[in-house]
Symmetry: C2
Subunit: 113 residues, 2 copies
DNA sequence: TCACTGTTTTGATGACGATCGATACACAGC
DNA sequence: GCTGTGTATCGATCGTCATCAAAACAGTGA
């Protein structure tokens, strides 16, 4: 993603969001607004090495493979995760700066590091 | 809301979320997943005194009154804001602990205060 | 090149959500 | 009580989304 993603917005509690800022942020929050996607993100982020193969993610849910793939796409298009193919398997990892941006947007003292 | 809302979850990057945790968090993030609601929340939080009257919120958007009311209800049912009637007008304010919870869930070092 | 496995895309379907106008409810002032 | 204003609910509409089965695509190894 573009470099400004991690520093675009002051916390939403400090100044009113512009329509553009709200559109960008809401797109990301919407991606987090599904329990399966949240658990996928959590599984990837907390997985050993910071990345997880789709095959490991699929077995953790009751939903079908295509559905997992759909949710991974939504997370990917929201900039929250990145995928990379290595041989047979595709590995996903989180984009920490984007998570930090969202965290910061919700709470002034958060994620200043 | 219940007392545990502000401390229920370790950051989702540390441990995989349980289905219950994911359901609760995704419900809140879903409420943030709309640009109008995000701007409403921001307007309320950044407003002088930490609260805003519905009449002040309605004029800031192009959408109808019922639609604003609907979005305020979604935010309210997600526990992100609280409303209080004082005389003629109803004032909304944010629930800071819940915002801090969400911020913390996204980033380990965030919102420990 | 062929078969096999892993992942994504396509197409369809049922549920959900954003929005509106109309209506109902709550309070203030007369 | 009545009337007017502020806010919420109802009912309908139309678009979006989560999900699946089926098909397509990508890479591996025989």
């Amino acid at each position: 993603m573009s470099p400004e993603v991690a520093s675009c917005c002051t916390p939403l509690t400090m100044d009113p969001l512009t329509a553009d800022q709200a559109a960008m942020l809401s797109h990301r929050f919407k991606a987090l607004g599904d329990p399966v996607r949240l658990r996928l993100l959590s599984l990837i982020a907390s997985h050993e090495g910071g990345e997880a193969c789709v095959c490991e993610l699929t077995v953790a849910f009751q939903v079908s493979g295509p559905t997992i793939s759909h949710h991974l796409r939504v997370l990917r298009e929201a900039g929250l995760i990145e995928g990379e193919r290595r041989g047979t398997w595709i590995y996903y990892r989180v984009v920490p700066e984007v998570l930090r941006t969202l965290s910061h947007a919700l709470h002034p003292t958060a994620a200043l590091a």
